[in-house]
Symmetry: D2
Subunit: 362 residues, 4 copies
C-alpha cells in the first residue's frame, strides 16, 4: 500500500520557517507523489474534534495555497498550546482523547502525518506512534535547544532580530552613558543570548546554564567605567538565574514583583545597589518569533520539508529530519526528545567570548 493522503500539522510556539516547511512538503507531496494533503488546524485541535472550527478550519491544501509562503512568518495552519490529546483540557478537567484522534485520523482516510513542532509536539508524536499512527517529525524551536539536530530553523532569524535590537540600543546606551539590560528568549538554553550577545557586542551575557553572581556583573560595569567606557550592554536570557548566594537577598525584592517581571528586571533589581546609574530594561519578547525567516532558516526549513516528504513516501515513520554537519538526515524522534541541547560553559565559543572580555557573571 502506498501513501495517498497525508496530514500536516504545526504545534507549539510560533517560529519563522514553519510556512516554508509546509510549502516544501506540499510542493513535493503533490508534484512528485500526487498526494492529497490535509492541513490540520491549530496543532491537533482539528483532529481532536472534526467539528473544531477555528478561524481557518481543516482544509485540503493545493499548490495555490502555498504560493508565496517561503518568505512569510507564522503558520497558515495555526498552532495551539492546548491540543495535547493525552491531556486534553475540556472544561475543568484533563481527559485522554487520543483514541478519538486515532478514529478521526482513520475516518479522514489519512495514511500518514508530518508533525512540525518542538519537544512537546515530538513527545506527543511519540505517543501517537505507539498507538499506531504513522508520523514523520520536523523539529522546530527558535531556542535551538533540541538535541538531535545541529540547528533548528527559526534560531537564525531570532538572533538576527535580537542583534538588530542590540545595535539600536547600543547607540542610545553610548549617547546616554547608560547600563542597558536586554532580555532575549531562551528558557532552558542560552543560545540566543550567546550568539546575539557576541554579535551585538554585549559586555555581559547571562544564560540559564551559568547561574550568575550580580556582583561579578557589577564589577564588570565598574571596571569599564574606570577605563573610560561609559556604557554597558547586558544580554539576559529569560531563563537566567542568580547563584544560590544571591537569592536570599533578592527574595525580599521579588516579593514586590508580579509574575510579569522577568529575568532582566531581576538582574536590574540586583544591580541597583552596586551600580549607581540609570539602568534601562528592554524585553524583546514576541518580536523574536515573527517576521520573514532569514535565508538560512528558509533553506533549512525547505530542506527539512523535502526530506520529510521523502521519508513519508519511503514509509520511514517514527523518524525526524535533522541537520548534521551540513546534511539533512533522518533520526529517531525518540532521540530528539531524549536530551536537550544546552550551552556547554567550557566550550570553545564560550572561551572565545571570555577572551574578548565578555562576562558571564561567573
Amino acid at each position: 500500500m502506498s501513501v495517498k493522503r497525508v496530514a500536516i500539522t504545526t504545534g507549539g510556539g510560533d517560529c519563522p520557517g514553519l510556512n516554508a516547511v509546509i510549502r516544501a512538503v506540499v510542493t513535493v507531496g503533490k508534484e512528485r507523489f500526487g498526494w492529497e494533503i490535509l492541513g490540520v488546524e491549530d496543532a491537533l485541535s482539528g483532529l481532536i474534534d472534526l467539528d473544531y472550527r477555528g478561524p481557518r478550519g481543516n482544509r485540503w491544501l493545493e499548490l495555490e495555497d502555498v504560493r508565496g509562503l517561503l518568505s512569510r512568518g507564522g503558520t497558515i495552519l495555526g498552532t495551539s498550546n492546548r491540543s495535547d490529546p493525552f491531556r486534553f483540557v475540556d472544561g475543568a478537567r484533563e481527559t485522554d482523547v487520543s483514541d478519538r484522534v486515532m478514529e478521526n485520523f482513520a475516518k479522514l482516510g489519512l495514511d500518514a502525518m508530518v508533525s512540525i513542532g518542538g519537544d512537546g509536539s515530538m513527545a506527543i508524536a511519540q505517543k501517537l506512534i505507539a498507538k499506531g499512527m504513522k508520523i514523520v517529525g520536523v523539529p522546530k524551536t527558535i531556542d535551538n535547544d533540541l538535541g538531535a539536530t545541529d540547528q533548528t530553523f527559526g534560531f537564525d532569524t531570532a538572533i538576527g532580530i535580537a542583534t538588530e535590537a542590540l545595535d539600536r540600543i547600543r547607540d542610545t546606551a553610548d549617547s546616554h552613558d547608560r547600563v542597558m539590560l536586554v532580555e532575549v528568549m531562551g528558557r532552558n538554553a542560552g543560545w540566543i543570548a550567546l550568539h546575539a550577545g557576541i554579535a551585538g557586542g554585549a559586555d555581559a551575557i547571562l544564560i540559564p546554564e551559568i547561574p550568575y553572581r550580580a556582583e561579578a556583573v557589577a564589577d564588570m560595569i565598574v571596571a569599564r567605567r574606570a577605563s573610560g567606557k561609559n556604557y554597558s550592554i547586558i544580554v539576559v536570557a529569560e531563563g537566567a538565574k542568580p547563584q544560590g548566594g544571591d537569592v536570599s537577598q533578592l527574595e525580599a525584592r521579588l516579593g514586590e514583583m508580579p509574575r510579569l517581571m522577568g529575568a532582566a528586571h531581576r538582574v536590574a533589581a540586583a544591580l541597583e545597589d552596586h551600580v549607581g546609574s540609570a539602568m534601562r530594561v528592554t524585553v524583546l519578547g514576541h518580536i523574536q518569533r515573527g517576521g520573514s525567516p532569514s535565508t538560512f532558516d528558509r533553506v533549512l526549513a525547505t530542506r527539512y520539508g523535502v526530506l520529510a516528504a521523502q521519508l513519508v513516501h519511503e514509509e520511514q515513520f517514527g523518524k525526524m529530519a535533522a541537520l548534521r554537519n551540513g546534511a539533512i538526515v533522518a533520526v529517531d524522534i525518540a532521540e530528539a526528545v531524549a536530551r536537550p541541547h544546552l550551552v556547554d560553559p567550557s566550550s570553545q565559543i564560550m572561551n572565545q567570548a571570555r577572551a574578548l572580555g565578555i562576562s558571564f557573571g561567573e
Copy 2:
C-alpha cells in the same frame, strides 16, 4: 563682528538624526564659513564645568570627525538629562549655575551655539538667550509633539521600527489566535501609536489624547471573534490613560504593580476579566530611539542643520529651524516651547482610522 567660533550641543533623549544635524552644521560651518566648532559634551555638562570629563570630552570638531555620521544613530556629543544649568543637581541640592555657563562660554571665545534638543532643551535655550547667549535651535523629538514644526526628525524612524515590530507580532498573533498589546513611545502625544497602528493594521489604538474605556476595547475583541477574526492587535501609547470610570476598578490591581509596569500592562490587566484568552504584552522601549535614521529623517535633519548654520552666519539668533509645508523655515524658539502638538481626536486622519474599523477605546 562676524561669527568665528560656534558651539554645538545635543540635549534630551536619544533620537535618530542627531548625528546628521551635527554633520550638516560642521560641514557647512567649516567649508562655507570657516568656523571653529566646539562639540560640547553631554548636553551642557561640558559648559557647566570645563573640567567635566565624560567618555568623550569637549572637542574641536573637524570634517574628519563627521565623516560617515549621516547613517549613524545616537549622538557623538553625548547627551544628558542632568545638565539644566538653572537647576543643576550638585550633591543633594539644586543650584543655578547659569552664570558659570555664561563665563565658560566667554572663556572659550565662543560667539554662538547651535542647540539641538526637545522642549526641555529649548526652554533652557530661551533662558540662556535672556542672559545674552546667542543661540539657534534645532528641534528634536521622536514623539513629534513640538508645536512649531510640521514634523520632527526621529519620528519617521521610530514609526518604522514600531511598524516592523507590529508586522512580526501579527504573524504570531494570527498563528496563536491571540490578543497582543504593544506599547510604543508617546508620553503626551499619540502620534507614534497612531501612525504605526494604522500602518501595522492595529485593531485598537490607545493614545493619551483620548482616555480609553477598557469595555470598548473588549467589545471590539469580542465582535472580531464573532465574525471569525481570531486575533487582535492593540497599540498602546505609553501615556494612554483609562477614562475616569475605569480608574477605581483598576486602582485595586495597580496596588500590586510596581513602577516598571507601563500603560500596556495596565490595559492588559483591565481587559483580563472581559477577555478570556491569553494576552501578550510587548514593550518596544528603547529600540525605538536608536539605529540608523530613515531617509526622511536624514534629509530633514540635514536640512535643519544647513539652515541652522545659515541662521548663525546671518546672526539670526533666538530662532529655531522648523518644517512648514515642505520648506525649512526659521521660527522663534519661544513659539516652539509655547504649545505642544497633539493628536486632534476629530481630525481627518482619526476619522479615516475609524472608518477602517479601528477602535480608540471611546
Copy 3:
C-alpha cells in the same frame, strides 16, 4: 440610485502600497457601504475581454481576500502596460475597444470604478469618464512626479531602498578608494535621486532637470582626492542627460552601447578619460519597485483608499485623491494629468544640497 457594485483596478508599473489601497477600499466599501467589489484583472484587461484569463481572473473581493495585504508589495489584481482600451494592441494593429469596455462594465452591473494608477492610467480614466463611466482615481508612482499631489505612495519606500543600497556601496567605495555610480529610477523627475542622494551622502547627483557636464563631475572627484577624500559616490537618475556640448563626444562611444546601457553607464563612459581610477556602476532597477511598503506609504495609501471609497459613496466622480499639506483632498483627475511635478533647480532643498558641497554636474 446609490452605488452598489464597484470595480477596482491597478494600472502601470508596480509600486509599494497598491495592495494597501485595495485593502482600504474593500474594507470601507464592504463594511461601511455594503458594496459588492469586483477586482479587475491586469489593469483593464479584465474589462476589455470578459473571457480574459490571466493567472488570477476577475473576482469578487471579500474581506478575507484583503487580510494581511497592508504590508505586502505588488498588487493582487495584477497590472499591465498593454491594456489601454483606446489603443489596444490586437495582433499587429491598434484598435479602439473602449465601447466594448463600456458594454462589459454595464453587463457586469457595475456602478462605478476606483482606478489606481499613474499619469497613463489617469489619462485613460479621463477618456472613459468622457464616455460616461463613473470613476474615482488614486494616484500612484514611485517617481513622485504627479502634479496634483504633494507626494505619491511608493516614493518613500523607493528612496528607502535606494538609501540602504547607497549605505552598502559607501562601505565598499571607502575600503577600495573607488568612484561608484548608482543608477536609480526617475525618467522625467529627479526626486528619487535627490532624496536618496542627500540621505546616502552622495557627492554628486545627476537628475533629468539639470543636464550635466561630465567635466564638472570629474572636477569634483579630483578636488575630493586633493583634499584626502579617497572615494566618491555619484547618484544618477535614469533620465539624467548630458549637456549639449558633451553629446557629440559621447555619440562615438554610444555607438558601441546597446539599448541595455543606461544613464549611469553613460556617465561612467564620459568620466573615464577624466578620472584615471576604477569606477563601478550599480543599476538598482526593479528592487526599487517591490517589497513591503514603508510606514509613510502604508498610511498614505490607506488614507487614499478611504477617501476614494467615500468619494464613490458620495458620487463625486472624476475626482482623484491627493495629499495637500498633510490632508487628503479630492482634486480633478484632469488636474493631475495636466502638469508633472519636477525638481526645481533653484528650490530651497537644491540650494541646501549645494551648500553641503553636492555637485549637480552644473
Copy 4:
C-alpha cells in the same frame, strides 16, 4: 622571544565582517597579550612603500579605534587589488618588491602579521612565509569558495541581501506576469546563487558548475505558464556559462555586447527567441559586498579573529583559521589555497532543489 608587535592587513574584495575580525584581533591582542598593533594600509601597500599615503595611512591601532566596528561593513584598513609585492605594477611594468616588504617589516620592528584575505591574499602570504615572514591567515570571501573551511564570513550577509532583493523582485514579477533574471556574485562557485535562489523561491538557478542549456530554462518558463504560473524568477551566478551547443548561436549576439554585459544579460539574450514575453534583468553587483554583517558573519569573523590572535601568541605561523563542524580550527594556509570549494551537482542540497522543481538549466 615572544611576540610584541603585530601587523594586520586586509586584502582582496570588500566583505562584510572584515572590521569584526580586526576588532577581535586588536581586542585580544592588546587586552590579553599587550601587543602593539600596526594597521597596514590598503592591503600590503603600506609595507611596499613606507611613504605610501592613502587616505588613512599606516597607524598603530588602539582599543578606541575598534570601538563600534563589529556592526560596520567595509574595512578601516582599506584594501587594494594592486598590492601583490611579487608582481607589483610600477608604471608600465611588473617588478618583485618582496625584499623591500621584508625590509620594511623588519624596519618597523614587526614580529608577525595577521593577513585577512581570499585565495589571492593567502597565495601571497604563502610566498612571504617562504621568505621568512611570520603570518597567520584569516579566510575571507563572500563567494564561500575556499576549500579549507566549511564557510567563510561575508557569505551569509551576501545571501541575505540577495534573498531580500529576490523577495522584492518577486512582488513585481507576479504583478506584471514577467520573467525576471537576477545576477548575483559567484565567478567560480554557485553558492550564493544556490542559497539565495532556494530561499528566494527561484524557478531556475544557473551556476558556474553546471553549464546551462537555454532551451531547458525556456521549457521551464513555458511549462509554468501552461500550469497557470504567470511569472518566473531566474537567478544567475556571474560565472554561469552556456553549454557548448549554445555558444555558437550566442556568439553572434555577443559580438554586439560590450564587456559590461554580464551572465544574466547573456541568458536573457539567449531566451529572447524562446520566450515571447518581457524579461527584466537586475544585476545586484556591489550591494552584496557592503553593509552591516549578519549575526552569523559577526560571530564567525569574531571567532576567527580570536583564534588568529591566539595562534600568533602561540607562534603557530603558516596557519589559517577555519570553520569545521562548528569549531574554529587551525589549518595550513597551503591547504586553503590548494583546492576551491565548489557546488557538487549531485549533492543532497542540489537534489532537494530539483525535487522542488527548480531547474538548473540541465
